[in-house]
Structures are given as C-alpha cells and as structure tokens.
Chain length 534, copies 2
C-alpha cells in the first residue's frame, strides 16, 4: 500500500530498501528491517502511515463521526487540512458503541429501551473483538490510550450444542474437537497403513505422517483413537487426576465419529482457526465504545453532533452538505469543504441526494445491508464461571440465538455479569428483528436456559439491538455479493469529482472496524495525492 | 473425593442428592444442581471443601511453606487445629516464586545473581500458568484476593522454528497448522471418495464426513487444500484484505505436506490441545509469586522462616522436627505437633533422618527430580509486538532453549518487557544446568536471535534458574516413572503413624501447583478423619 506519497523511499522496492539498509547500517540493522517489513505482514496497515503537506487553506468536509470519519479527520488535520465532521447521532463512534446502565436507545418503530445494567457492565451491540492482525484499529487504540485486554474467543470448556444431538445436552468444545480429530487421524492412519494412498504419499512421508497423526490426533501406539490417557488428556477425564490417594484418574469414553457427524457439532470445531478468530484477540477495557468516545473527545472541536445530512452537492470548487439539527430543529443549514470524505453507510446514503457519477450511484444502490441482532443479558451471578468453569469465550448452539458469549473481563469476580445471549445473522436475525425488544430478550433467555438452566433463576435484565431497526444504519454491515463486488467495488472506491467514500462498506473486510480504518486510510491517501499532485 | 467427613450428604450418591433436591425445590433447582455437580466436573477439587471439628487442643506441625504446606495450615487452622509451619527460605511460596529487580538468588555452587529487571517486570522460575480446570489453586487465588489475568498459551501468530527447515526461518503457527490439517483433510477425502474406507465408514457417514472435512480443513469445492480464499483465511495472505482500492487480497501458497512432515514442525500443532494448555488459562497479575506471598501474609503468625529441618522424629504422642536457623545460626531447636504434614520435596527429604516405615522411605527414595531451566531476558522494547504482531503466547524451536514465551500482560505498552527466553526439560536442561548463569543467558540470547534478530540490539539483562541447582529442591518436580508409581505411589500417600506427606510429588499432577493443592487437601482430609475417627 502506498502510504507516504512524498517520501523518497516510496519509489524503492522492499528489496532495494533492505539492501541499502544492509550496506549502511550493517547486518543487525538489516535483520531488524527484514523483520519489521517481511515478517510483520499481517495487515495492509503500515504503522509508519502519515500524510503531510496539505495546500495552505485546503479544507475537507467529513460526513459521519464513526471510525472511518474520525480517522480521516485526525490524519487530514495532521497533514494540515482544515476539517469538520457532521454526525447524525448525539455521540461519536457510530457502530463502535457500548450500551451501559442509564443509556436509552430508541429503535426504528419507536420503542425505547432504558438500559438497566449495573455499573461497569455493558453490551457491545456492534463490534466486540480486535484481532491481532487488525493493525489499523489497534494502532488508533494505542494512539488514543485505549487500554486493551485479552478477548478469549477460543474456550475449550465452553459448549457446542444442538437441540437434536446428545439429548440436547451441550458438549464441551474440547470433547467434540478431540473426538473428531482423533477419528480423522485414525481413519487416515488406517488408509495409509493399507497402502491405499501410495499414489499420493511417498513411503518416506508415510512413516512420518503416521507419527504426526499419532501425535496430533492423540492416537495410541496402534494408531487407534480410544479411551485412554492420550484421548482423556484432550477431551477430559471421568475422574480427574488429582492429589494423594484420590488422584488416580479414570478415563472417559470418546464419542463415536458417527455420532459426532450426525450431531452436526463438527461445524464449530474450526471456529477459532479463521484469522480474525485466532488468538490473540483483544477488547477495550470498559467496552468497545471507549474507542469512539475517546476519538470523539480528541476531535471535539471539529465534530458537530445531531446533524442529519439531507443533501450533498459538489461543484467545481467544493462540496456542500445540507443538514438539519435533530435536536434544535430549525431551517436546514450548510457546511462546505473543498473536498468531502463521506462515511455515511450506503443504506442511508442511498436516500440522500448527491450529485456523483451514475457508476458510483449504482454502486451505492448495490449494497444490501445485513441483518443482525445482539441481546445482552444481565445475570445475578457469574454461574458459567462458578458452576461450569467457563471463563470467557463462546458457546455455539443451533438454536436461533446462535451463540452465548461470556464476558472476557473481571474473571472470578463475585458480582453480576452480562452475557451476550444472542448474536444472530441471516434469516434468524430477521426473525429477531421482527420481534419487540422484550420478545427478543425473552427468546434469548428461553434458548439460553436449554444450555444453562441457571438462566431461570439468575436472569435480571436485558437489552436487544436489531440492526435493521437502527435508524442511522438500517443494517449491520454492507453485505456485498461476489457479483456486486465484481461490478461495483472499484466504482465505489473511486474519487468522484471532489467526493470520496469510506467505511467498512468500501473495504474487503466488511463488518470489521479494520475495514473502516483501512478504507479511510486508502481514501484519504488517494485524496491527498489528487489534491497535491492533481 | 470425600471432602466433608461429617456432612450428612456425604453418604448420599449424587443421584440420590439430585432426586432429593428435585423433590424439595422443584425442577429449576434440580437443573441448577445438576449443572453444578455434573457439568462442572473439570477437576477433583470440590469448591465446597471444608473441614471442621478438630479435637480440642490438637496440633499439627507443617514442614514447608509452599502451596501444599500453606493450604494444609490454612484449612487445618480453620478446622480448629493449632498449626505451625517451618520454612527453609526467607520467603513463603516455595516453587511459587517470581524474581523481580532488586532480588538476589544464590544457586548451588555459590553463584549469586542480582536481578536487574525494571520495576514491574519479572520471571516466574517455576509455575507460570493456571489452567481453567485447576480449580484448587484457582480457589485459593480467589480466597486470597489474587487478581488473575488471561495467560495466552495459544498464539497463532507466534512461530514454530527448526534450524534445519525452511532455511531456518520461523514459520507462523497458523500456517503450519492450516497446511497440515488441510493436507490431512484432503488425503482422507481422497481415500473416502475412492471408497477405500467403506469398511470403516458407512455410506451415510461418508457424505457428512466429506462435508465436515471440507469445513474443518479449509478445502475447496473439490476437496482439495489449495491456494485460495479458504486456505489463506487460515494461514494468511500475501497481500491482506484491506480498505478501498488497496483492499483486494492476494492469496498465499500453502506449504506441501511433504515439507511440513520433513520439517518436524508438526510436533507442535497440538500444543494447545492438552487440557492444561487449552484456553482459558490464567496468571496472577504481577507474577505467580503473588500467591505465595499473600498466602504467607495471611499465615504469618504461624510461619517460621529461615528454618532448616535436619531431623523429623515421631513417637507415640507426636512428631518433633529439629531445625537450625539459617540466618542466626545457634544450636538446633525443635518444634512439635501431635501430627505432622511434611511437604518437603522428596529430593531434600531423602537426606533428612525421619522414622517412617521402610515402604514410605523407599517411596521417598524412588522419585528422581527433573531438571529444568528457565531464563528471563529483559528487552529494551517489545519488538515481538511492535514488529511482528505477536501478543503473548509461545514460540517453539528445536534449539536447546525450546521455547520463547512472550509476556501476557501490558500488551501494547511502550516500555520494556521480559521474555521467557528458554524453558528447557530433559537432557537440554542438564546442559543448561552445567553452565554458569551468565552462560545460560548468553546461550538463550544467541538462540533467540536466530528467531528474533532484534535480540542483538534489544537485549539488556537476564536471570537464569536451573532447578537442579536450587538449594531447597534440587530439581524441578518429582518425575515418577510408571514402574516407580506402580510400586511406591500408594505408599507415599499413606499416613505413616503421625506423619503424612503432601506436595506435587504426592499427586498424579506432578509439576503443577494443582498437584500440590489437591495432594494437600487429600492428605489433610484423611489425616482429619484419622484424628477424629481413629
């Protein structure tokens, strides 16, 4: 990614740069450079990103004080531009948002929820995780002094649950994983030993592969996945190893592969293996919304809240946005900049008159926004920890609520806790959206109680956000189809006259904050080049 | 495990108890009970553990203020016993120990290390992790108010490294895992599709298994593990998905199975799948030694430090320990109790005259103590985070240092950090033990630099603890052979007259603090039964 437009090193290839560094600074420095350039390639974001050299007096109008808008404002201001942001909500952050006790939220349809959570507890209705390779958003967390703590996506003690398998009894993640992988290792070993794969695997490799399968799949000396120390050390014991005379373990019986297959629970074994779900992940201490709040504090002099944009019009010298004050009302007002970075979600932007090219307009129309619903449930005590040794992480279920996620903070505290009691996508999210907030909460409680019977006595209060009813996004994220992307993606990225769009919908990482951040950086980098180099 | 000797519920089976609860309190309560009894079976430790009803005036002498000794003292005192502890060191905790800047440590052979770490940084020479199912030690952490934070054992961005594979270049854990499992899934799919496993897998199961393998192994539509979105979403991209026009990803090429097999790196793929390594794990904020320190503060009135036990003698009415004050010197002194819980490691105890049965004495002689060495290295900056996006977790190498572990705290902080630069077992630990501390540190730095070249410029100061040279244990942990365990384990657990032993060496969880805790609980439970019921 081209990041430093006026930096002489830009025209060098990485190899040239490294050779140069090697000549000048010796081998140790080159190794260091190699490491920071090559090994660190976990993201398109470059930590050295910086713009500079704005033309004197040049101004940029930014629409939306979500992450994309605030990144644009911060970086453009640093480069010397005059910036201002119009924001619809009475707070900054956009979908970067946490709901705390005392907050109110009114959804489309008019129902207002008064959040009753105890102090310190929260629901993140939108993003809730920061993967290690989302270096853009992690960079701004550091810049803002947002303290991060581990988000434990993977928890082998949490459950996978199907209503129709194992009598509806949830199974520990570790048992499903161990039993599936053990059976896979045993089957492949069998095939190898019977010389069935001699075409595909050399004799030499076969012997190593058998060793590897035994090690990886917890097989016994005869390449069988059976009840014994190896399998129980992964899936758990009937009586656990312990101290003294009570310490002798008894092994547990693996579940037959056929039962795992029919249960459908295998669908979640790889749930932690996709890059954004791999450890290490993070979350801001105190709620995801801390990022948007702190960013807003930093930029408070250039942000106008409660400003609903109703028209965007560009001409030969600039861009004018017409907006109404959603609190004070009054006649429409205008804001103007030489250029405009528009981060309004396409779902909303498609309803705002804006004079851009037909290609960009069609692109804006081409992005449907996904349904999603999250339900937060406050429980009187942290029974998942106290009764079931589940500390953070996620339980998966084939019920409509889809998951139960346990708080990744304040482990072992004696107080209350807020569970993410439902996180739905797709058709189930539409069903949840059609319910009232109270019905969504009731449904999440009922479904959760099939996994944790303690819900019946411990549930206190909840809040439910269905994104299709969020007035300022009308959906959770841009859900590009492959066809739409092929036709429209490049068009929505282009600078159209004096307007450039940014946000997760203008990225290849939809629904993630990193998409908003990197989209913003890509947009302002190109805009700055256009402005400074014509 | 029998925990509440005089509790009426003890004589009930769990089924009986649940039926009773069901009758009395209704279904919801029964579900709750089921949950807390059945689902929570992740440990032999019972959170309800409590002893009571000590005979008036009965006393117990405890030898060693490590975890086993302090658990015994705490619980026996609560039950009404008079307790006292003799401890060799000038601090409590034993192998529960953290080394901070300003500490000094003198090993066998006389070399003293003056730890130079910056404030807040530490090495845990002994235990460093608390698995979720080690409910005993976790319970005492809560009891003592020890704050716990996540220990991220699993880190997909950390490396697996072999000097002889991939030109010595470390490989990200995620790529080795994805490529091995992808190849395994593809091979087994091939075998299934060629009907080679029709004896082992029914036709119905076969179709589901193929789906499951595709999902789990990131295969394409034709059941092949190839360069593409699915594989790159696990192993990483050449150019990562991002925002705007820069956002189009390019996929990375998987490593061929044959190369993974020959590299030997497959040996670490399952490194997070054993129960004590599975997420969620914890560590005390501020160092493992916080547990031993706080436990010692709680029991300070009954602990005598600097007391080297030189003889243990029981008679018909009690047990007398003779000890010398290691600081003040002077003539040997004695301490006496009606009963004795001895937690002195067998490696030391084997050298102390003690009148127990030949069976117990032989058991004490039968436990060799393992060699292990840990080296802590302070670096000027957290380059593993800044340059390589590695936040916590472990890198594995086939060099003698075995692992590099990254701090699981203060992520993203700009300050210095202490790496665990070596953690050796077995023959390599013996080689490290034979070196001077400075030589161990040098070796760890040299080996680490093959993985992180930044070592060459960032290393500042280190400390090295080789457990065979630790004067008060002469080894890391009791390494029972299977034969020795079969012959001696029950004998070492027995109450011998008025003496009972406890510690990790008297457990089926050797080398873990949970072994010490559960061994202590097992020992004092039986001792209390013996005392109260004869």
């Amino acid at each position: 990614m081209s990041v430093i437009a006026d930096d002489a090193t830009q025209s060098m290839s990485r190899r040239e740069l490294m050779t140069l560094v090697g000549k000048v600074a010796g081998t140790a420095a080159m190794y260091q450079m190699m490491s920071s350039l090559a090994l660190a390639a976990n993201s398109t974001f470059d930590k050295r990103f910086s713009l500079s050299g704005a033309p004197k007096g040049a101004s940029v109008l930014i629409l939306g004080a979500g992450l994309a808008g605030m990144v644009a404002a911060y970086e453009l201001q640093k480069a010397g531009y005059k910036v201002q942001i119009l924001e619809y909500n009475n707070r900054t952050g956009g979908r970067n948002w946490s709901l705390y006790g005392g907050d109110t939220y009114t959804e489309l349809g008019g129902i207002t929820q008064h959040v009753q959570f105890d102090k310190g507890l929260y629901l993140n209705p939108g993003p809730w995780r920061l993967p290690y390779n989302h270096q853009g958003i992690l960079h701004y967390c550091q810049m803002l002094g947002v303290k991060l703590e581990s988000f434990n996506q993977a928890n082998y003690a949490a459950y996978i649950h199907s209503q129709n398998a194992f009598g509806g009894k949830p199974q520990r993640y570790r048992t499903v994983k161990a039993d599936f992988e053990g059976a896979v290792a045993e089957l492949l070993s069998k095939s190898l030993q019977q010389s069935q794969l001699d075409q595909a695997v050399t004799k030499e490799d076969r012997e190593i592969l058998l060793q590897a399968l035994r090690n990886w799949g917890a097989l016994d000396q005869n390449y069988r996945y059976v009840k014994g120390r190896a399998s129980s050390s992964r899936r758990g014991f009937d009586h656990w190893p312990g101290g003294g005379l009570d310490g002798e373990p008894t092994y547990s019986e693996p579940v037959a592969l056929s039962d795992i297959l029919k249960s459908g629970l295998w669908g979640e074994i790889a749930a932690n293996d996709g890059i954004p779900e791999q450890p290490t992940l993070f979350q801001p201490v105190g709620g995801m919304g801390v990022i948007g709040r702190k960013f807003g504090e930093l930029l408070k002099n250039v942000i106008r809240l409660n400003s609903k944009v109703v028209e965007i019009k560009q001409d030969e010298t600039g861009v004018t946005a017409t907006y109404v004050d959603t609190v004070k009302g009054g006649p429409p007002q205008t804001a103007r900049g030489d250029w405009c970075v528009c981060t309004i979600p396409a779902s909303i932007l498609s309803q705002i008159p804006m004079n851009v090219s037909p290609a960009m307009q069609q692109a804006i129309y081409a992005i449907p926004y996904g349904a999603s619903c999250k339900v937060g449930l406050q429980m009187k005590r942290r029974f998942w920890e106290e009764d079931e040794d589940i500390y953070g992480g996620i339980t998966y279920t084939d019920q409509m609520n889809a998951i139960i996620a346990y708080p990744n903070t304040d482990y072992f505290s004696k107080g209350k806790g807020v569970l993410l009691g439902a996180y739905t996508f797709g058709p189930n999210a539409s069903i949840f959206t059609s319910m009232t907030p109270q019905e969504r909460i009731n449904a999440a409680v009922q479904m959760g109680a099939n996994i944790h019977p303690q819900y019946r006595t411990e549930f206190e209060t909840g809040v439910a956000v269905a994104w299709h009813r969020v007035p300022w996004t009308l959906g959770c994220q841009g859900t590009w189809s492959e066809d739409a992307r092929a036709t429209h993606y490049k068009n929505i990225c282009q600078i159209d006259g004096r307007i450039v769009l940014a946000g997760e919908h203008v990225s290849m990482i939809p629904a993630w904050q990193e998409g908003a951040v990197t989209s913003s950086i890509d947009a302002i980098t190109r805009l700055h080049q256009r402005i400074t180099k014509g």
